[in-house]
Symmetry: C2
Subunit: 230 residues, 2 copies
Amino acid sequence: MKTLVIISHPDIINSSSQQFLMHACPVEDDVTIHHLEGTYPDGKIDIAKEHALLRQHDRIIFQFPFYWYSSPAMLKQWQDDVLTDGFAMGKNGDVLNGKEFGLIFVVGIREQEYQAGGREQFSISELMRPFQAMAHKTGMIYMKPLPIYQFGYMTDEEKLDLIIQYHQMLKAEKNLTLLAKEKWVLDQLRKTDKNTLQPKDVHIVDHAIERIEENRETMDELKIVLDEMY
Amino acid sequence: MKTLVIISHPDIINSSSQQFLMHACPVEDDVTIHHLEGTYPDGKIDIAKEHALLRQHDRIIFQFPFYWYSSPAMLKQWQDDVLTDGFAMGKNGDVLNGKEFGLIFVVGIREQEYQAGGREQFSISELMRPFQAMAHKTGMIYMKPLPIYQFGYMTDEEKLDLIIQYHQMLKAEKNLTLLAKEKWVLDQLRKTDKNTLQPKDVHIVDHAIERIEENRETMDELKIVLDEMY
């Protein structure tokens, strides 16, 4: 599966959250990072190039700061210019059909304000309807979004957790079951280059793999018992 | 009451619906028409000028074609540039507080597709949440929007009706009661310059005024009877 991350941010160099995500991004052949304002400083979008990029990838991600309950203007321009009739919709416009579509966005306000009675009144799901409608119109599968609330106040532990969520959004199969999440974590642990680790950290990695495998065996046994009961 | 109509359309000359609205627009001192792409062809918005315009008006209207369930990118750029902290929100950012905010937008798809189970899945109210949230954040009063569905298929009669709705959106007090609507229509009829009309049309105008006044009298009498009954 190949993933295209379309980033829109007018000042990405000075954005600590975007810089963090850039460094957290898996450096692999099957992930393409594409910053719109950097690629098109004059605002003129190369539509043929964008169409080619979309064709080459299976999962399309929009990554941006949440400005006035939506994306920056450049990403809206991209939608208006690139998602043309005959390509993304309308007659023969089925290029995006069946691809996955995800949203990653950085929000300055606390999560609990986004509900009826909260300071922002509406939920993130409601505010994202225009993007959900776009996914629906183009036949893309709408993934569970990854909103990042108040990045500046995150603890180191929360940031580590964010890296995992970010990797999963970009690379793991969508709507992970517990079993798939386990498998994903095991894969990541096994891929770790132990030569880059301190001896005590090698031990931690080995221990984590063992514990996950043991837990899984216990759960499999429980499942057999339950199946026999019914 | 002074009304500012902020229009965003990248090709307004070739838009039959926008041209229609331009000609339908009341030519009066207290309505300002402001086309963003025409004013700023290089896309660079004069923030001080926009702030002055907003201060001078009591009702702010966004008028645009519905592109990907939102406005064209230029209007998003306007939001991001102009609605600054300290002006439209945040500490001392109360300039828009108490003003009225309205949306007029032209939609290519039939109205009934905008509901659960329809081709577009979501209602117009849901898709407009980001604008409603903006009005909420800036303290503006969200008016009932005026979506214009499938302008190209409208009959002449529907277009005449649209002109009335358009004038009311720009000039009449919001959420008109029947009484206020009557008064508004009577005012418009009385303002008509009879020298510009054919004799038979003068008669029609006089007759319409008479009928509306008669209806109102009948309704007032009914109200007295009802009040006495309870």
